[in-house]
């Protein structure tokens, strides 16, 4: 892989991590309100998948999408300003954390109804196929979304008409507080996809290189006319479901197991539920970012000092984003009404 790509992916992961930790802080200060679903732990998926896509491919995401937007290239300023509800935000302060849009980068949103990304992505893919274009639509969804009827309907249609869509399931093993074996009769998500005759594979979502590789190949297969593809990325979120969720339903040892890169023992399910303390979090070993950093340093793609510099760079970007968001103007009700009606501005209604 090119050095440049490796660097870009690491930088993206660091940016996502720093951005989200800061968002959590700003939430506690009251600068961000509403539901805030954070991404730490899952950065390897966004970085691996989106960096494998081309500029004319489309991305459709859910409510845990800050990382997806950042990796896609939306300036951190616009992402943060949206969280602050400002007119300079990527959705002009209208959408907030769960509804981020950047159509110029073909980042098509930001949907908070579980499962909704599927038909929307399939619809964009239908348009692409009908036009005979070489573009692909990447559709993110969680493990919990697999049980929504819309998932089923969408995959059947995507396969029936061989639409150019790559489904990426970010399987973090939980739908809020419900663990996957308690919400899915077949907890191996990729196996369920056999029902639609869509090639599906499960990969290690904590390893950005594997994610990138798998995505690249899947996109190639799609562009060669292979129809829709499905990738299940096994991953984990380090925080609660949203800032409103203490995450107490997950055993601390489970969280640690992921962060220190061990396979989860089946036994841990019976462990008493308890969210890890900050101390416990601090003493935890390597996570997906650490793993990648180690790989890059070991492989001499990067020196430790470079990583430090990168960390400082992204921190600056995040600080700047917060400053920008703080100083930005609020949207007005007039602008809201304009957005609502912008599509019929030149039409005579009555």
């Amino acid at each position: 892989m090119e050095r440049e790509t490796l660097h870009r992916m690491l930088r993206d992961m660091l940016l996502c991590r720093a951005f989200e930790e800061r968002a959590a802080e700003e939430y506690s200060k009251g600068n961000i309100v509403g539901f805030l679903h954070l991404y730490p732990g899952e950065e390897a998926v966004a970085a691996g998948v989106i960096n494998a896509a081309g500029p004319s491919d489309y991305i459709v995401s859910n409510y845990r999408e800050h990382g997806h937007a950042l990796v896609r290239g939306t300036p951190a300023r616009e992402v943060m300003a949206e969280l602050f509800g400002k007119a300079t935000g990527m959705s002009r302060g209208m959408g907030g954390s769960m509804h981020m849009f950047d159509p110029e980068r073909r980042f098509m949103g930001g949907y908070a109804i579980v499962g909704q990304t599927c038909p929307i992505a399939v619809g964009i893919a239908y348009a692409v196929a009908m036009r005979g274009l070489p573009e692909v639509v990447i559709c993110f969804l969680g493990d919990g979304a697999v049980n929504q009827g819309t998932f089923h309907e969408s995959l059947n249609m995507a396969s029936l008409w061989r639409l150019p869509v790559l489904f990426v399931c970010e399987n973090n093993h939980y739908a809020i507080g419900t663990e996957i074996h308690r919400h899915s009769a077949v907890p191996e998500v990729f196996k369920r996809v056999a029902a639609y005759n869509i090639p599906a594979e499960k990969i290690d979502g904590m390893d950005v290189l594997k994610v990138h590789e798998a995505t690249k190949h899947a996109l190639e297969r799609i562009r060669r006319g292979g129809g829709p593809q499905f990738i299940e990325c096994e991953t984990y979120r380090y925080r609660g479901h949203s800032m409103a969720d203490p995450g107490t339903y997950r055993p601390a040892v489970e969280l640690k197991a992921y962060q220190s890169w061990d396979p989860i023992a089946a036994a841990i399910r019976d462990v008493e539920f308890k969210y890890p303390t900050p101390e416990e979090l601090a003493e935890v070993g390597s996570d997906n970012v650490k793993l990648f950093v180690d790989h890059l340093i070991d492989g001499e793609h990067l020196a430790a000092a470079d990583v430090e510099e990168m960390k400082q760079d992204v921190q600056k970007i995040v600080d700047d984003a917060v400053q920008f968001a703080l100083q930005s103007a609020k949207p007005t009700m007039d602008s809201a009404m304009d957005y609502l009606n912008h599509a019929h501005r030149h039409e005579v209604l009555m």
């Binding site: 849009f101 599927c118 249609m157 609502l340 599509a343």
Partner: protein
């Protein structure tokens, strides 16, 4: 210039004209293609435009309606046919949480030029799960527009306007209107999509209605004329937005308003019409606005009960007559 067409044929021509003019227009739904559409609206289009532009879907209402939303986001102009409005309950998430909200939610960065065509209303003994109206459900959703054509000409005009518009628009078609006939002039200039039309001028009472019941109201007005009651009949043509000006102008002349709808009375479309026009014309009204509406009951299968569950011409006549009497008595008193 104009030719006599059935309502479904008028819709069919509108589809054909739009599809011929713009290759981003496509239609999808259950049995719209090979089969030619349950009410024949898409007849012949599959052969003419091929399977990508006339797409038969699986029975996956939320899925294929959501597909339409997605395609609309990237510049296509999808016309989704939901086989009947009864199945739209399954697709409401795509319509309400999707199509209607994306323009605002994206800060005006995306448009949703989607049309959803749905046959609905009370037809002939289709029973509770196939005989309902969701007018009110849709009216309460900000971001949607709703057209309710009652004539072949309006069907032609409004479907074309809906396809040409960049907004998400629902076209409510009435199952008992598909085989009604009327003149259609393809070349005539269309009135604005949401303008109400005064189908009949009148002096004594204003009857506001829409869709099939606008037709029944005109028949009722002819009856009433025989008794010397001159009823104005306004066909709303649109349920969102509603052309209040046209309605208010008539009410201010007649001082009495009867709202006729097929929708269930409780919280039906008529509630908004009655409330809004009362607010506006309160001091011109000689009597409270009357609503004549469907009974608040799931539609029974039995034919006589089905008929009794929605207003018939005789009911409209009686209600208008009573309203005129009540108003003149109260005035006299």
């Amino acid at each position: 210039m104009s030719q006599e067409l059935l309502y479904w044929q008028a819709l069919n021509r509108a589809m054909d004209h739009e599809m011929a003019a713009d290759d981003s227009v496509f239609t999808l739904g259950e049995d719209v293609g090979l089969y030619g559409g349950s009410y024949r609206v898409t007849e012949g289009l599959y052969a003419k435009y091929g399977e990508w532009r006339v797409r038969d879907t699986p029975i996956s209402e939320n899925g294929f309606t959501g597909l339409g939303v997605g395609a609309a986001l990237v510049g296509m102009r999808p016309v989704v046919e939901i086989m009947t409005i009864n199945f739209m309950l399954l697709a409401l998430d795509s319509i309400v949480n999707g199509a209607a909200k994306i323009p605002l939610m994206s800060g005006g960065r995306l448009k949703v030029p989607l049309v959803v065509r749905v046959p609905g209303g009370i037809a002939r003994q289709l029973a509770a799960q196939h005989a309902q109206r969701l007018e009110h459900t849709l009216m309460n959703v900000p971001g949607l527009r709703i057209a309710v054509p009652s004539t072949p000409q309006d069907a032609y005009w409004q479907l074309r306007q809906a396809i040409a518009s960049d907004d998400p628009i629902i076209l409510l078609e009435h199952e008992l209107l598909y085989f009604t006939k009327g003149p259609v002039d393809f070349a005539a200039e269309a009135p604005p999509m949401h303008r109400a039309i005064v189908r009949r001028q009148g002096r004594d009472v204003t009857i506001v209605s829409y869709s099939r019941h606008a037709v029944l109201a005109q028949d009722a007005a002819s009856e009433l004329a025989k008794e010397g009651i001159e009823a104005a009949v306004i066909d709303l043509r649109s349920l969102k937005p509603v052309d209040w000006d046209t309605c208010a102008a008539s009410v201010e002349k007649t001082h009495r308003l009867l709202v006729v709808e097929e929708d269930c009375r409780f919280a039906g479309a008529g509630a908004e019409i009655s409330a809004a026009l009362t607010e506006r014309c309160f001091y011109s009204l000689d009597a409270p606005v009357q609503r004549l509406a469907g009974l608040d009951i799931p539609t029974p299968y039995n034919g006589a009960l089905e008929a009794a569950s929605i207003p018939q011409i005789a009911d409209i006549v009686a209600a208008a007559r009573q309203l005129c009497q009540a108003a003149s008595e109260s005035k006299a008193a």
